[in-house]
C-alpha cells in the first residue's frame, strides 16, 4: 500500500504545473522544468562531486594505467611508444615475479591472521566490564592515529641488531637475531610492525560488533550448560561474522597496498624476501624508469585485489550467519 501511494504521489507531482512562472515551456505548451526534472537535477547535482571525484581520481587513472601498460615510456628521452602486449609478455617471463608474489602472499596471510586474531582477542578482553578498559582501548587504538612513517622509523631503530628489542631480550638472557637482516625475521618484523599499527582499528570494529550481541543469548546458553569457548564459538562468532567479513576484506586489501613500511624498514631486502608486489611496482616504475612495465604490474595488482574481494564476498554466504 505504501509503495502504491508513493507512486501515485510522484506521478501527481510530475504532472503538476511549474512552481514559478519563469520556467521554460517546450513546444507543446508543457513546461520543461517539471517537478520531476527539478528533482532529478537536484539529485544529479548532489552526486556530481562524488561522480566527478571518482571519475577524476579513480576511473581515469585506472584507464591510464591500462593505456600506459601498452606503451614503453622513456621518461629521460621523452619517448612514448606503443608496444602492444610486450609488457604483458615480460610479466609472464619475469623471473623475479614468482618470488615477489610468494612474498606478497606470505605478507598478506601473515598480516590477516595476526591482525584479525589479535584484534578479536583484544576486543573480547576489552569488552569485559572491568576497571581500566577505557585506558587499554585508547592504548591499543592510539597507533592508528600515529603517522605511519614516524611509527615505522621508530620501529626501525627498535629492531636494529643493537636496538631496543634485542636490548630487552638481552636482559632476559636471550641473544636476539638481527631482525631486519635475516630472510625469515625481516618479513616477520614487517608484519608485526604493521599489525601493531592497525590492530586497534579492527579491535574497535569488533568491540562495536560484540556490544551488539544480545546478552540474553549468552544467559540462555549458560543455562543450557554451554562453556565460555562454546558460547564464543556458537554465539559470538556467528553474530559478529559480518564484521569479520568486513575487517578481513579491509585487511586483505590493505595488506596488498603496504608500501611505506617496506620502503623504510627493509627496501625489499634482504635479497628479495620482503619485496611485495606494490614495492616491486614502485621499483620498476620510479627507480628503474620502466613506467610501462610498472603500469602492467599495477594492472596485475588490480586484478588480484578485485579477485580476492569477489571471492571473499561470495564466501560470505557460507560463513556469514547474521547478515543484516
Amino acid at each position: 500500500m505504501a509503495q502504491t501511494h508513493l507512486k501515485l504521489t510522484v506521478a501527481d507531482r510530475a504532472d503538476a504545473p511549474p512552481a514559478t512562472g519563469g520556467a521554460r515551456s517546450d513546444g507543446g505548451g508543457r513546461p520543461f522544468w517539471t517537478v520531476r526534472r527539478r528533482d532529478n537535477l537536484v539529485g544529479y547535482l548532489f552526486v556530481a562531486p562524488q561522480l566527478i571525484g571518482s571519475a577524476l581520481f579513480v576511473l581515469l587513472p585506472l584507464g591510464l594505467v591500462g593505456w600506459y601498460s601498452l606503451h614503453e615510456w622513456n621518461v629521460l628521452a621523452g619517448t612514448f611508444e606503443f608496444v602492444g602486449g610486450e609488457n604483458y609478455d615480460k610479466l609472464l617471463a619475469d623471473a623475479n615475479l614468482r618470488e615477489v608474489l610468494a612474498g606478497t602472499a606470505l605478507f598478506s596471510v601473515g598480516l590477516v591472521v595476526f591482525n584479525l586474531s589479535l584484534a578479536l582477542v583484544l576486543a573480547v578482553l576489552l569488552n569485559q566490564r572491568l576497571r581500566g578498559t577505557a585506558f587499554f582501548r585508547t592504548l591499543f587504538f592510539s597507533p592508528v592515529v600515529v603517522s605511519l612513517v614516524a611509527w615505522t622509523i621508530v620501529w626501525q631503530f627498535l629492531l636494529q641488531a643493537d636496538g631496543g628489542i634485542n636490548g630487552l631480550l638481552g636482559v632476559a638472557g636471550i641473544d636476539g637475531p638481527n631482525w631486519l637482516r635475516g630472510e625469515g625475521t625481516a618479513m616477520l618484523s614487517v608484519i608485526i610492525v604493521q599489525v601493531l599499527k592497525n590492530v586497534g582499528l579492527n579491535m574497535v570494529l569488533f568491540l562495536a560488533a560484540l556490544q551488539g550481541v544480545p546478552a540474553q543469548l549468552y544467559e540462555a546458553a549458560e543455562l543450557d550448560g554451554a562453556g565460555a569457548w562454546t558460547r564464543f564459538r556458537r554465539i559470538t562468532v556467528p553474530l559478529i561474522s559480518p564484521t569479520i567479513l568486513l575487517t578481513s576484506i579491509i585487511t586483505v586489501v590493505g595488506s596488498l597496498q603496504v608500501f611505506a613500511q617496506i620502503a623504510v624498514l627493509t627496501q625489499g631486502g634482504p635479497g628479495m624476501s620482503t619485496t611485495v608486489l606494490i614495492y616491486y611496482l614502485y621499483q620498476q616504475a620510479f627507480q628503474f624508469h620502466h613506467f610501462g612495465y610498472g603500469a602492467t604490474l599495477s594492472a596485475l595488482l588490480f586484478v588480484i585485489v578485485a579477485l580476492l574481494t569477489v571471492v571473499q564476498w561470495r564466501m560470505r554466504r557460507k560463513w556469514v550467519f547474521h547478515e543484516a
Binding site: Q160, A161, R181, G269, G271, H289
Partner: protein, 427 residues
C-alpha cells in the same frame, strides 16, 4: 541519451580534455617577461644555499630577462627517483644536479642540452681549464652534457682520541712507517672496537645496501664492479673475491667494521674511522674529539683513490633551456668555481692547488688537501656507474645480501651476483 549518460559523458570529455591539455612531456612555451629558473639540488645545507643564492642574485643584476632563480633541494636518498618523477609528471626543472651513478642514463638519453658551445662562447670561461678526467663521465660523442661541478675524493677521517685510548698509533705515524695498509688499519680498528666498545671503521652511507661505496675498499685490490666497457661482470674476479673475503672477515670475525643493523656515526664520536668524501669535513666544525683526514689505506695493489662526482646539466626540453645554459656558464665560471670550491672540489686544473683549496677549506691542513684531494683527483677512479644503474644497483644489492651473514661463502655469493647481472650488462 539519458541525463545520467549526458552527465557522465560531459565529465569524461572534460577529464580527457584536461588530460590532453596537461600533455605529459610537452614543454610549455616560454612565458613573456622575466623567465624564472629552477634547479634541483640534493643539499639543503644553509651555507651552500646562501652561496648559490648570492651567485644567482649577482647574475640577475646583469640579466633582467631572468626572473627568480630557485634552488630546489630534494633529499639525497631519493634524489634521482624524485627528479625523474618530476620529469614524468611534466614538471621538469630547468637545471639539475646529477649523480655519477645516473650520469650514463642522463648523458645518453638526449635529455640534457649539449653545453660546449655555450661554455666556450662565455666570456672569460676558460673551457680548456676543465680537466679531461673530470669531464669524461659527462661526455658522449665528443659533446659535454653536464658540468662536473664536484669531483670529490674519498678519504679516511680518523678519531685520533679513540686510537690513543686503544693504544694505537696515529695515522701520521702509520704513514711514516709505511704501515697505512688495509691489513694494518683493520687490525687497528679491531683493537679500538675490542678495547673501547666503540665501532671501528665505518664505510659511510654503505649501510649494507649502497654497495657502490665499497669501491673505496675493493679498488685497493684492483677489483672493479664491471669491465671498463661495462660489458663484463667483475664481481667474480679473483681480486674481488679476495677483497670481499677480507671485508667479510673484518666484519664478522675481527669486528673491525660494525656489522649490519648497527648505525654508529663517526661524526658523533661513535667510531674510530670513517671512509667518506671530504665535503663531510664541515660536520667536524664543533668536533669534541681530535681528528685527522688521510688517504685511503693501500691495498695489495698499492695506493689508490676513488672519487665521487656530480654534474650540473640543463634539460633540453626546458622552455628556458638557453637562459638556463647561460646561467650555468655564469654559475661555473672561474670566479664562481673558486667560490664553490669551498664545498665542491672544482674540475679546473688551475684551481686544484693547495693554495686555492686552503682558502676555502679552513678545516683542512695543506698536507691533507695535497694528499687526499689533489692527489686523489689526479689518480682516482670514479665510483661504479653504468646505463640502467638503478636496476643494476638493486639487483646487485639483492644478490650481495647473503654475503652479510656470518659464515657466508664469498666466492659463491659473488658468482651469484654475476649470474644475475651479466645478462643486464649486455655482453
Amino acid at each position: 541519451m539519458k541525463p545520467f549518460g549526458k552527465l557522465a559523458a560531459l565529465a569524461l570529455a572534460t577529464l580527457l580534455t584536461a588530460t590532453a591539455c596537461g600533455g605529459a612531456n610537452e614543454a610549455a612555451p616560454a612565458k613573456q617577461g622575466p623567465q624564472p629558473l629552477r634547479m634541483t639540488i640534493w643539499t639543503s645545507n644553509e651555507a651552500h644555499l646562501k652561496l648559490f643564492n648570492e651567485i644567482a642574485a649577482e647574475y640577475r643584476k646583469t640579466h633582467p630577462n631572468v626572473g627568480e632563480i630557485t634552488f630546489d633541494p630534494i633529499p639525497f636518498e631519493n634524489y634521482t627517483t624524485t627528479l625523474t618523477t618530476q620529469i614524468a609528471g611534466g614538471n621538469p626543472p630547468d637545471l639539475a644536479w646529477i649523480l655519477e651513478s645516473s650520469a650514463p642514463d642522463f648523458v645518453s638519453s638526449g635529455a640534457l642540452l649539449p653545453l660546449d658551445d655555450t661554455l666556450r662562447k662565455a666570456q672569460g670561461y676558460e673551457f680548456d681549464d676543465l680537466t679531461p678526467s673530470a669531464t669524461k663521465l659527462w661526455q658522449a660523442e665528443g659533446k659535454l652534457y653536464a658540468y662536473p661541478f664536484s669531483t670529490s675524493p674519498f678519504g679516511v677521517f680518523v678519531n685520533t682520541d679513540l686510537l690513543k685510548k686503544a693504544g694505537q698509533k696515529t695515522p701520521d705515524e702509520m704513514i711514516k712507517d709505511g704501515r697505512w695498509t688495509w691489513e694494518e688499519v683493520a687490525a687497528q680498528n679491531a683493537a679500538v672496537a675490542a678495547k673501547t666498545g666503540k665501532a671501528g671503521m665505518v664505510v659511510r652511507d654503505f649501510d649494507y645496501k649502497n654497495w657502490d661505496n665499497l669501491a673505496s675498499v675493493w679498488s685497493g685490490w684492483g677489483a672493479r664492479a664491471w669491465s671498463e666497457d661495462g660489458r663484463t661482470c667483475g664481481f667474480d674476479s679473483p681480486e674481488m673475491v679476495e677483497a670481499m673475503t677480507f671485508l667479510h672477515k673484518s666484519i664478522f670475525t675481527d669486528k673491525a667494521f660494525p656489522g649490519p643493523g648497527t648505525t654508529p656515526d663517526f661524526f658523533a664520536g661513535d667510531s674510530a674511522m670513517t671512509i667518506t668524501q671530504i665535503s663531510r669535513a664541515s660536520l667536524l666544525t664543533d668536533a669534541t674529539f681530535g681528528w685527522d683526514l688521510v688517504p685511503l689505506p693501500a691495498g695489495p695493489k698499492g695506493e689508490y683513490s676513488v672519487i665521487g662526482q656530480a654534474g650540473l646539466g640543463v634539460f633540453a626540453k626546458s622552455p628556458n633551456a638557453a637562459v638556463a645554459a647561460d646561467f650555468l656558464a655564469f654559475f661555473t665560471d672561474p670566479a664562481n668555481s673558486a667560490k664553490l670550491a669551498a664545498y665542491f672540489p672544482p674540475p679546473r686544473a688551475s684551481q686544484l692547488t693547495t693554495e686555492t683549496l686552503a682558502k676555502s677549506n679552513p678545516l683542512l691542513k695543506p698536507d691533507q688537501l695535497e694528499k687526499v684531494v689533489i692527489d686523489g683527483i689526479r689518480k682516482g677512479v670514479v665510483k661504479p656507474n653504468h646505463t640502467g644503474q638503478a636496476e643494476l644497483s638493486q639487483t646487485v644489492r639483492a644478490a650481495l645480501d647473503p654475503l652479510w651473514q656470518p659464515g657466508a661463502d664469498a666466492k659463491a655469493v659473488l658468482a651469484g651476483v654475476c649470474a644475475k647481472i651479466q645478462p643486464m650488462l649486455g655482453a
